[in-house]
Amino acid sequence: MTHGQVTRRQFLAGTTVAVGALALGRPAHAKGSVTAAMYPGTWEEAFRMHVAPALKSAHDVDLEMTPLFAVDQIAKAQAARGAPPFDAFVLDPGPRVTGIDRGLYEKFDAKRLTNLGRLSAGMTDEWGVTIAAQVVGIGYNPKKLPKPKAWTDLLKDPWVSRLGMTGFQTTYGTVSIIEIAKQYGGSETNVEPFFTEIKKVLSKVAAIGAPASMPALFQQGQCDITYTNTQTVATLRGRGVDIEFVKPESGAVSFYTTMHVAKGSKEIENAYKYFDTVISAPVQTALMQPPNNFIPVNREVKLARDLPMQSLDEMAKFVHHDWAKINPLRAGWIERFNKEVAK
């Protein structure tokens, strides 16, 4: 009985316990379940409320959700390559394209969805299915600012000195900057005019910050105008914040949120049942109601009045972007943004 040996023995015992705990900690996939990555907050709550019960009653499949943002899903799936920590992705276009590029999805067979016929054309491809749309435009405080008309107003007085800006980190930030650049002669692959214009007004911009902190900055009056999506505006309005959505003259931007099967998933069958439930008309209708404020993709859903369009077909007229072209340029833009904006 010596202290030195005790230390070592205890350590060995400790290690054994730790390793044993790790082995026990492996999640045992119950029969009839699917693990889905899910955006935290509004999305996860809405899915828990509406999708999980529907999936259970229709297919007797349990929905397990692991709260992860799109960017985190890609990172986690890539780090745990070969043993995906979840079965289904939910992604916006930027991360979606990265996932295709890195081979993180199983091939998608749209014919396995019974609700396929109720979707608009082009809502599925060889990699996944569209489950919601997002419309991006300008959100502003009508009590503090006159109504802006165009993307270019963001860089003009009186709006620019109250502008809250985010960079290329998010899908909505990237498309908004592209649209601003377009008004000054740029294009989907050329945001140079944006950098030229922003340089002139940079010192006036009220806040340049993290996208996640924008709602808080807006509520605290640090900024009164920003580019954002209808869902965020509707959510903030629902909480009594003075904010209104404006569709810019050149058209609002639209993009789709898609779902994908993780490469190597053992629950492929249930993943399809999950997707099918998400795009079914009753679930899509429930997701559209406040406080969820989703934009549906199922044509049988009667659109809510406060959405910026009368029918889903109208969305085709909105501005769309080709993320396969944008993604390779994004690293350079982010670097450029850092350098231009940093003091």
């Binding site: 010596t2 202290h3 030195g4 040996q5 230390t7 070592r8 350590f11 400790g14 290690t15 960017v71 985190d72 890609i74 990172a75 890539q78 990265t98 890195r102 800006m165 985010t166 960079g167 290329f168 980190q169 009220a206 806040a207 340049i208 910050g209 993290a210 902190s213 808080a216 900055l217 605290q220 009056g221 640090q222 994004r330 690293a331 982010i334 943004f337 850092n338 350098k339 904006v341 940093a342 003091k343």
Partner: protein
């Protein structure tokens, strides 16, 4: 290490008695093994990944390092990051030491109250604390309302998303990291030494700089090391209070690993942060050792 080999080689009987007092390396061993298994391997993995040229990690090479370190902007960001750490350490020390002295002079009951106040920032989470600072430093925030009411400035001051604002907020956020080690050392200090100093006619300032501070220096140094390491890597606070106008290394690492998925570059940036902040921490430790040796002379 020689003790180690000698011990293993020693006859059983001698080992028996020698082991009653565990050799120092044996005490370090459990943590060292835990780190080897769970930290060193991931670290080596990061080093490996940083030596790939392409984002998909297929071709080896040093291109990412050349690109990262060859950019003048990188060096500016490293300098800014270290500067932020130095400012935060200076601010927390300047304000934390007087708080610790008040603690030292207080009655036992008040010491309990002060200790509670010191850990208060830890009782709210990082994110909530950070948002409280938006409320304080914002355009319509507490400070600006006061300034406007007092007529000190015609327009709201810009505090949020400036380096000053960030350092002020970090001073609160990191203060417990400075004060807890400092107080734990100070509380074991012999009060007679300070009384003797005053009795011998030393002024209060002199007692502070010649007796109290030197004796509590190990605690202060430990606190400074923790504050430096924590403030230079405090991503949320840097991003939310600092905004994108201030670019620090953690932001670059986050962008590269989670937005553009260039993990080789992200690894290179992470290792750069590790080395540069590690050197800063080692420098604080070295200053501490010098100071301690000087004080004990």
């Amino acid at each position: 290490m020689t003790t180690a080999t000698a011990e293993i080689a020693a006859p059983a009987a001698r080992r028996w008695s020698a082991a009653l007092r565990p050799a120092e390396w044996q005490l370090v061993l459990p943590l060292a093994l835990a780190y080897a298994a769970f930290f060193l391997v991931p670290l080596v993995l990061l080093i490996l990944v940083s030596f790939f040229d392409d984002e998909k990690i297929t071709t080896m090479g040093g291109a990412q390092w050349t690109k990262f370190l060859g950019d003048r902007f990188t060096w500016k960001v490293i300098a800014d990051t270290l500067k932020l750490g130095v400012f935060t350490v200076a601010a927390t020390s300047l304000i934390g030491v007087p708080v610790a002295l008040v603690y030292l002079g207080a009655s036992a009951r008040w010491q309990g109250v002060i200790l509670f106040v010191v850990i208060l920032p830890l009782l709210t989470s990082v994110v909530v604390r950070t948002f409280a600072w938006i409320v304080i430093l914002g355009r319509e925030g507490v400070i600006n309302q006061t300034v406007l009411w007092l007529g000190l400035s015609p327009a709201p001051l810009r505090l949020l998303q400036t380096e000053h604002g960030l350092v002020i907020a970090l001073t609160q956020i990191e203060m417990p990291l400075l004060l807890l080690p400092l107080l734990s050392v100070m509380s074991r200090m012999d009060p007679n030494l300070r009384d003797a100093s005053s009795a011998l006619g030393a002024s209060k300032w002199r007692t502070l700089f010649r007796v109290t501070l030197p004796l509590s220096l190990p605690g202060l140094v430990a606190g400074c090391m923790l504050v430096f390491a924590s403030s230079t890597t405090a991503f949320i606070s840097q991003l939310v209070i600092g905004g994108n106008r201030l670019v620090y290394l953690p932001l670059l690492i986050w962008q590269q690993s989670l937005v553009v998925y260039n993990w080789p570059l992200a690894s290179a940036a992470a290792l750069t942060l590790l080395v540069s902040v590690g050197l800063g921490v080692a420098a604080i430790a070295a200053v501490g050792r010098r100071g301690h040796a000087w004080a004990l002379r």
